[in-house]
Amino acid sequence: MSDEPTGRGFTAEGGHGAVPLEGVASGVGIAPVEREWPLYEVFVRGKRGLNHVHVGSLHAADDRMALLHARDVYTRRNEGVSIWVVRADAITASSPDEKDPMFAPSGDKVYRHPTFYDIPADVPHM
């Protein structure tokens, strides 16, 4: 692959205009020179009565700055009434695969769902 875009392999879906997909670095496997601010994940409660939902991430030097940046980046149009930020390295996650044995215990317990039970059609309010 050459260092310069060839004119082949541009995608319109670079958003605000086509960008080359050939002859540019991907950045995978390169480490930055400068030490970067830690990464935070951001969760926003859209309105009262709803759960906080993950909306994205950002970099900040500390917790308070993370909150302020989250307000500016993710709630410029009343998208939220409450924000949580948490350092990405403090999150423990399950393994990514949906077929993972992690979730197997719930797969075979059909009796946990209301549709498992046959109720006569003429019984009201159930």
Binding site: G7, A12, H16, P32, R76, I91, A93, S95
Partner: protein, 321 residues
């Protein structure tokens, strides 16, 4: 993020690849820590990172007019619009980071010229009417590109696009409204609008990239569900949308070949100057050097702030420990 090792044994690469293909075939989304082919990951990083760079560099041409906006109302609108573009850049860097790269790395690649940004931002904003034309045509073209991306196969990218698309509508409408206001003004103002449209029409068509015949990567990107329409399809859609808008505005589009084709049910139109486009990509557009120089200066001038904030944070940590 830490990964708990719950899987008892690792699957073979073929099994992983089959599952990836099946997820794409179901039109389901790929999520960050799913297994994915290296080519898919790298294509996404290139596309998302350069999309992000375009948003960030894209603040410059319009930012040029913030201090000179003709009224407080127009200034507030323009500030909000430019701030949104910063936000778009950040949503996208955030999506790129889920693929295992960092924002700082990507910034360094941009500054080193190893990644690009959209060439549209290498054109100067010579008159205030350009603020309106950019909103109408440039953000309008961005909407054409970005709406299909809401359904792209990579989850974080699609979610970022949904947020972006909601905001782009404001961008396009404020631009068009600005132009309609000028068109109701003096002859001189109407001439300014027409002159601005004449300069931006062809660069706006270039935003969709070279014709499909010259874009061999399109097929792979479409098979992966990253791309949903070809460059030419999107360009056609944009032209068809823009013609009635231009008519309502009272401007002409500078293309003698532009004509309605009854048989196709679409407009026929001429091709932009692709050599000019490639010159811009190679770094020789009208404002490339200025845009990069500005971005580099902003990054370097901000270095002491980034360091000071880190030093302050570690001192606070020390104090509470």
């Amino acid at each position: 993020m830490t990964l708990t090792e719950t899987a008892p044994d690792r699957e073979s690469d073929e099994a992983l690849e089959r599952r990836f293909e099946a997820t794409i075939a179901r039109n389901d989304r790929i999520e960050p820590r799913d297994w994915m082919p290296e080519g898919y990951r790298r294509t996404l990083v290139r596309q998302i990172a350069q999309h992000a760079h375009s948003e960030i560099i894209g603040m410059q041409p319009e930012g040029n007019w913030i201090a000179r906006a003709p009224s407080l109302r127009r200034k507030a609108i323009l500030l909000a619009k430019v701030q949104d573009e910063a936000g778009h850049g950040l949503y996208l860097y955030s999506a790129a980071e889920t693929l295992g790269v960092s924002r700082l790395e990507l910034t360094e690649l941009l500054l080193a010229g190893k990644q690009k940004y959209s060439s549209i931002f290498n054109y100067p904003t010579l008159s205030y009417a350009d603020v309106g034309t950019i909103g109408w045509l440039v953000d309008g073209a961005a909407i054409c590109n970005q709406v299909p991306l809401c359904r792209t196969s990579y989850g974080p990218y699609g979610r970022a696009m949904i947020r972006v698309c909601k905001e782009e509508s404001f961008h396009q409408r404020q631009g068009y409204e600005l132009l309609t206001t000028m068109m109701r003004g003096t002859d001189e103002q109407r001439a300014m609008v027409q002159e601005s449209v004449d300069r931006f029409w062809w660069p706006a068509l270039m935003m969709f990239g070279p014709p499909d015949a010259d874009s061999p990567n399109t097929a792979q990107s479409m098979a992966w569900g990253i791309k949903r329409n070809t460059n030419d399809e999107l360009r056609q859609k944009f032209v068809d949308m823009s013609v009635p808008q231009a008519k309502a505005l009272g401007v002409t589009l500078p293309d003698p070949e532009l004509v309605w084709n009854e048989e196709r049910g679409h407009h026929d139109f001429g091709q932009p100057d692709w050599e000019e486009f490639m010159e811009g990509v190679r770094g020789n557009g009208p404002c490339n050097a200025q845009r990069m120089e500005h971005r580099r200066r902003a990054h370097e001038d901000g270095a002491w702030v980034r360091e000071a904030a880190m030093a302050y944070a570690s001192r606070q940590d020390g104090a509470t420990a």
